[in-house]
Amino acid sequence: MQTVLSIAIDAFAYGMALFIICIGLSLTMGLMRVVNLAHGAFAMIAGYIASYAARDLGLGYAAAIFLAIVGTVVISIPLERLLYRRIYGRPELTQVLMTIGITFCVIGITNYFFGPTLKTIPLPGSLSQPVDVGFKTIAAHRLFVMACGVVVAGGLWYLIEKTDFGIKLRATVDNAAMADALGVRTQVVYAVSFAIAIGLAALGGVVGAEFLPIEPYYALRYMVTFLVVVSVGGAGSIPGAVAACLLLGAVDTTGRYLMPEFGNFFFYAAVIAIVCVFPRGFFGRAQ
């Protein structure tokens, strides 16, 4: 029982870390119809900024997170203007080509400036201690990541379901031309959602760095995982992303506990099974 609980809590923490990073990608893919393979590259940029802020500038963890999010969004704005705008509505494979190109460039440039070594983001003392939660000892930052995940999910749900902006966003997604005709400034909606997606990638990159360490190949190493998780959940769906992250996190974590030698088999077999049963993902919208 104790073991089951431990595995469950590990799985939950891992799933939440995945969720924070992937939900931004889910938004871009579901709402803006852009297969943004460079999503991980933005998370990585954020990780580097946070690491630089915390280690070299000596700022605190919270300040580093804030700086990383702002910095990444600022970096993404010219990219959106100059590059992403050209691929909205274009065939998926063209988007793949462009975003892989962006990923390569980001990796190359990061390597040039920061070198090929691992970067860590030092945690504040309160988050780096092991915490005894009764049945096991767990690192405090894992609890922090879980909390972040819940807050992000709740916040996004509120934003999309309960606010004025959410209504405009949903209208734009359903039918951009119609929303435009109704006076919604769809360009602004797109720009804001892109910024939100990048901001979430940045947040995920920083708080998830304890699970997925920051290094120059981060963007490529986890590209597949992110894409798979989003597709399984159904692009654009928050509950879908939550379900996919938790389920795949659980499969992955449990598989690694029970039969680590077949760890990846479990993960990808689960993906195949889910996709065959739910070809549009758990909560994917009909095409």
Binding site: T3, S6, I7, D10, A13, Y14, N111, G115, P116, T117, L118, K119, T120, P122, P130, K136, T137, I138, A139, R142, E210, F211, L212, P213, E215, P216, Y217, R221, T253, T254, R256, Y257, P260, E261, G263, N264
Partner: protein, 391 residues
């Protein structure tokens, strides 16, 4: 930038002069200069440059010119293509470098026809040496660096160990070598876990370690994010506090990863052939020169010493053949060669052409400057590769 100049120089040299400059001997180095393992390639380059800085750029009047070729990840087809190009087009007389085993395997069938020896700076699987008599290796094998940990563990009163290795060639080698050595010393491996190579969240593994009831964990993982994740999980899940010991080959605590591992690594016991902190005049000179070449003190790690000694072997080969291309003679000349390397006394085993060297037990400790380093605390002299010795 130096690399590009070297290549440009080589290309122009080849174009302009051809055979007229017979007194320039070319050495082709293949390594991962870009990609996820770029740091290891940088260390190759640093080792080579350090050797040439300290020992001159010519042997017996023959100028030495090094040509680098980039092979970012294990890719035998590309490896063969690069080796072929170096031999046929650039007319190198010596091949060196090679980080990954399959890449070395792809080059060995070419050597005889190319009349070129291959000096391996890293690729650490025993079997490579049996593929061609023209291969010499100046690095280590995983079995070689791992075996002493068996004895160390029993000496420290550990009877039951759980082994956790990444599920790939070197991991499997390490698992087997440790099991053999540990059981020979009277211990018991209660469980052997093989972990997916691309995992970075190891808390479920730690749960297994805890559940197994072992007194220590033996681990082998590739450097970088995986090692970081593993060591982190070891600390965070409270295994360290619970007194469960940690043994591993030194790949896990290589110097370039230590800053990222931070204080979490303090106390880890690893066995390896080289620590940057090794205390000897040879090493001081080497570290100084290599640090200059690599660009930053915290980027220097073990592949540089493999490359440094590899260049030493190549220099000796050139000396023996006096610039004539004769691979067999060159290899024969270094069989049994012994010298003092930055890592300590070493020799080339005449039988296996693999390096015989000291293996050190090191503990990660915090230095006076607050940085962690590998401190050598015990020496196992003149270790051969057990993987080859049995064959």
């Amino acid at each position: 930038m130096k690399v590009s100049k070297a290549i440009l120089g080589a290309a122009i040299g080849a174009l302009l002069t051809g055979s007229a400059m017979a007194d320039t001997i070319k050495v082709g180095i293949i390594g991962p200069f870009s990609g996820p393992f770029a740091l290891q390639g940088k260390n190759f380059q640093a080792g080579v440059e350090a050797y040439m800085a300290l020992n001159g750029k010519s042997v017996k009047g023959h100028d030495i010119e090094v040509i680098y070729r980039d092979l970012p990840a294990a890719n035998p087809a590309q490896s063969r293509a690069l080796a072929q190009e170096l031999v046929v087009k650039e007319k190198v007389q010596y091949l060196g470098g090679v980080y990954f085993t399959p890449d070395a395997m792809a080059i060995t069938p070419l050597l005889k026809q190319a009349n070129t020896p291959l000096v391996i700076f890293n690729a650490a699987t025993s079997a490579i040496m049996t593929q061609s008599p023209l291969v010499v290796r100046t690095s280590f094998t995983t079995a070689q660096t791992t075996s002493p940990s068996g004895k160390i563990a029993t000496e420290r009163g550990v009877k039951k160990v759980i082994s956790a290795v990444s599920d790939y060639g070197p991991g499997v080698d390490a698992e087997a070598a440790f099991k053999k050595a540990f059981e020979a010393a009277g211990g018991q491996v209660v469980e052997a876990i093989r972990m997916p190579l691309n995992t970075t969240d190891f808390s479920p593994i730690m749960q297994r370690v805890r559940d197994s009831g072992a007194e220590a964990v033996f681990a082998f993982l590739p450097s970088g994010p995986t090692t970081l994740g593993f060591v982190k999980a070891y600390n965070e899940t409270g295994l360290k506090q619970a007194g469960i010991k940690f043994f591993a080959p030194g790949d896990l605590t290589q110097e370039s990863d230590l800053p990222a591992l931070g204080d979490g690594a303090v106390g880890l016991l690893t066995t390896f052939h080289y620590a940057v902190s090794h205390d000897s005049p040879e090493n001081k000179k080497f570290v100084e020169a290599a640090t200059k070449a690599v660009g930053g003190a915290d980027q220097l790690s073990f592949p540089s010493v493999g490359a440094y000694d590899g260049m030493h072997v190549i220099y000796k080969m050139i000396e023996a053949t006096d610039g004539k291309q004769d691979a067999q003679k060159a290899v024969d000349a270094v069989k049994g060669l012994s010298w003092t390397s930055p890592r300590g006394p070493v020799s080339i085993d005449a039988e296996t052409r693999h390096i015989t060297e000291n293996i050190y037990l090191r503990e990660v400790v915090k230095g006076p400057d607050g940085k962690t380093y590998n401190k050598e605390i015990q020496t196992f002299p003149n270790q051969k590769d057990p993987g080859l010795a049995t064959q």
